[in-house]
């Protein structure tokens, strides 16, 4: 019988010591795979392919023990969350969590790999370890997402298919499938394959797809270089005078609007995208100002950038096609009607510092006070079960 899920964290982290999975890297690449190193201050770090060591951070690996935090030196072996899968299940039990959807810090760990072939081998090796060794220990509780490489559409589709074979419920994208920070027609192959394979799509980067530096943010049909046009980017006009959360700058809804303007949602009406750790309290104001700015600026967007107008309002695309991940967010939960209670997924962020572990239930009681049971269940578990097909 399928497990009954009451609380699922739709955004947790798995920042593994690379030494646990690099035995899966083909022998010819293994000495260039990530390795644990000890930093001058005694904390653990990771070094990959001779690059700069990357210290694991205090706020990512301590499981939210704030009163002790300033005095800790982070090490893989002493922190919660990043141990063996059995330990992780016990940590879920201690927090009263039935299952977690987990993201891995792949890009920051592998970014120093100097050859595509090595990078792809690392992505593949970690994906295989996660599926065959890590998740296999508790396949109804440990739902790591597969990682899609950023080296181009061919590699993206390839790894997507491999992840489906390995039994992942979904994958995470750092960039658009083409490897760019903007949508391209060739991405359609990936979107089609994801629907075909029933692989859920997730993005964990503040709602913005990363891309190589100095790339444009969208393939506009034309850009009229008029001295009277002093705006740099058409889609950004939609976010004028709009709250812009996100440490990296820019609204968490930017990626979704890139997809809407590229016609992705029109061509793939079934496609959904989950943007993790965006929070949700900004959504009501953002949905309103997107539509208001769209009304003001659509003629300008069409004129200067040749951008075809959307078939529907910006907020319609967001309401239908996007899911948003939030942590302890009473304001976002209260404002759930703006996007819909069926589009918000609760998460703990464990073992990162924003987590309330091991007191997540206390945070839940507070954040969901007064929320009717069916909606509470949707946000806490139902939406994740449905989105990631966890009961199949």
């Amino acid at each position: 019988m399928a497990r009954e899920y009451k609380v699922i964290s739709a955004d947790s982290h798995l920042d593994l010591n690379p030494d646990v999975w690099t035995h899966r890297v083909p022998a010819r690449w293994r000495d260039r795979a990530p390795k644990r190193v000890v930093m001058p201050n005694g904390s653990d770090g990771v070094v990959c392919d001779g690059g700069k060591p990357h210290a694991i951070s205090l706020t990512s690996h301590t499981g939210g023990q704030f009163d002790q935090m300033p005095f800790q030196i982070p090490k893989f072996s002493e922190t919660v969350g990043n141990g063996p899968p059995q330990q992780r299940v016990e940590e879920q039990d201690r927090d009263g969590i039935d299952a977690e959807v987990m993201f891995s810090l792949v890009e920051s760990m592998f970014r120093n790999a100097k050859e595509d072939e090595l990078y792809l081998a690392l992505v593949r090796a970690q994906n295989e370890y996660l599926a065959e060794e890590y998740m296999a220990v508790a396949p109804d509780r440990l739902f790591s997402l597969g990682t899609i490489p950023t080296t181009g559409i061919h590699d993206a589709v390839n790894e997507l298919e491999h992840c489906a074979k390995l039994g992942f419920k979904g994958v995470t994208l750092t960039r658009f499938p083409s490897g760019h920070g903007y949508p391209t027609p060739e991405d359609d192959r990936f979107w089609a394959a994801a629907l075909d394979l029933r692989m859920a799509l997730a993005q964990h980067g503040g709602g913005r797809f990363a891309g190589p530096r100095d790339e444009p943010s969208f393939l506009y049909p034309r850009i009229i270089e008029s001295p009277n046009n002093h705006k740099a980017d058409a889609i950004n006009l939609l976010f004028s005078n709009s709250p812009s959360p996100g440490a990296t700058g820019g609204s968490p809804a930017y990626g979704a609007m890139q997809m809407a303007y590229a016609g992705v949602f029109d061509r793939f009406p079934q496609l959904r995208m989950y943007f993790a750790e965006t929070w949700a309290g900004w959504l009501p104001a953002c949905l309103f100002s997107l539509d208001d700015n769209h009304r003001r600026f659509r003629a300008l967007m069409q004129h200067f950038w040749g951008l075809d107008d959307l078939e529907r309002k910006p907020s319609d695309y967001l309401r239908e096609h996007t899911f948003w991940g939030t942590l302890y967010d009473p304001v976002g939960i209260q404002g759930r009607a703006a996007i819909g209670a069926d589009k918000i997924m609760f998460a703990t962020d464990f073992p990162h510092a924003a987590s309330d572990w091991p007191n997540t239930h206390k945070a839940i009681e507070d954040a969901f006070a007064g929320v009717p049971e069916p909606e509470r269940h949707q946000i806490l578990a139902g939406n994740a079960v449905r989105y990631f097909h966890l009961d199949e």
């Binding site: 935090m69 005078n241 709250p243 104001a285 208001d292 003001r296 703006a338």
Partner: protein
């Protein structure tokens, strides 16, 4: 008899031709003042040393796209003299405007590295505002004096001048000490604003109250060993998931300014307000989680009250069309919110502001609506 105000735009913009105010620059420096020139296509532009030409922008209003015109001060709505401005208010059904000089102008003039010249330009500009522009219709044209972003002495001196000259408020472009970091010496300025009864404002740039992206943001007593400047409570941590719209008022809170000057109250133009419920909550939650860490690692002071309480009680916020924010007005209180038209910038609904107002305030009781549309501004800026 004092004018009775029904609609005041608390956030409108001055787009003044340098021809109007540069004659007031003292003769010894007048040739260094910005100058209007005409481009071959007929558009106006402004020339100042050390900077590319600043072409006058086409003003755009909802549904109207002026890309084939050559924009000029004489032709653009809202870019002319005070007489024209009053007629434009009439056409839009607006009784008065709080007029900001957008942060891009003091930045543009800063092309002049010499402090004496730079200060003289700003003083001449303020003189023009007080003696000519606002004087034309003092009840309707309420320009904010420009506080020079150079140093504390200059800031205090210009504040005193603006008060003497009868301006009804001033706008800050940096903290009074001239940098993007609040410093103890600023207290002399805050004390002066209190004794002069001068309202203090600032206008957002790039969607944030943050004054500048350059330089330190706080006089941290220390920082964690081995870290570089870019990652700290203000630059990354506190605003990570909510955006940094209230950046500057939070700097003031942590610098203890609101505690030392409990009567100090600032108005932040064009912040919008729909973000307030979520952002105030987020900052409190983050501060509760990480405050001890920030204190330990950077020496960030421990606040006497929750961050949101400072933001809520000692600040007012300007908004344009923001239905969600209006509905959630009780979060900071209806007395802290001021509507604005943004005229003549592109987000304005001019000349149809009244229609936009009807939509914006649908269902709001009249007394509250009056406060946001006029009462709060009239009180804050001592109008009438």
């Amino acid at each position: 008899m004092a004018q009775e105000y029904r609609v005041i735009s608390s956030d409108s913009h001055l787009e003044l031709s340098p021809d109007s105010w540069s004659p007031r620059v003292p003769a010894q420096w007048r040739d260094r003042a910005p100058r209007r020139i005409q481009l071959p296509d007929g558009a106006d532009a402004v020339l100042i040393e050390n900077r590319p030409l600043h072409r006058v922008q086409a003003t755009r209003f909802a549904g109207m796209l002026a890309d084939d015109q050559a924009p000029t001060y004489a032709g653009n709505h809202g870019w002319g003299g005070p007489d024209r401005r009053v007629r434009e208010q009439d056409r839009d059904g607006i009784d008065a405007e709080i007029l900001f000089t957008h942060p891009q102008f003091p930045d543009f003039w800063r092309a002049i590295p010499d402090d004496d010249v730079y200060r003289a330009l700003i003083h001449a500009y303020n003189e023009y505002l007080a003696e000519e522009y606002c004087a034309y219709a003092p009840d309707r044209l309420v320009a904010m004096g420009v506080i020079p972003p150079t140093c504390l002495d200059d800031a205090v001196a210009e504040l005193e001048y603006c008060a003497r000259a009868g301006l009804k408020g001033v706008a800050l472009y940096r903290f009074p000490n001239g940098t993007g970091s609040p410093l103890p010496e600023d207290d002399r300025f805050w004390a002066a604003t209190m004794s002069l009864g001068m309202p203090i404002t600032a206008h957002t740039a790039n969607g944030s109250t943050r004054f500048t992206r350059q330089g330190p943001v706080f006089p941290y007593p220390h920082r964690p060993a081995g870290t570089r400047g870019e990652r700290d409570p203000f630059n990354t941590e506190l605003f990570r998931f909510c955006g940094d719209i209230p950046f500057a008022p939070l700097q003031l809170a942590f610098a203890g300014v609101f505690d030392r000057f409990p009567a100090l109250h600032l108005f932040w133009g064009e912040t919008q307000i729909g973000w307030l419920p979520y952002t105030l909550w987020q900052i409190d939650d983050h501060y509760e989680r990480y405050g001890q860490l920030f204190n330990d690692q950077w020496g960030l002071p421990v606040l006497e009250r929750r961050p949101s309480e400072y933001l809520r009680t000692q600040n007012s916020w300007g908004f344009l069309v923001d239905v969600v924010g209006v509905q959630q007005r009780e979060v900071v209180g209806v007395d802290k919110l001021m509507w604005g038209s943004d005229f003549p910038h592109s987000a304005t609904d001019w000349p149809n502001s009244r229609r936009a107002i009807e939509q914006n305030f649908a269902g709001v009781p009249e007394a509250e609506r009056d406060l946001m549309l006029a009462g709060n501004a009239a009180r804050f800026f001592h109008m009438g």
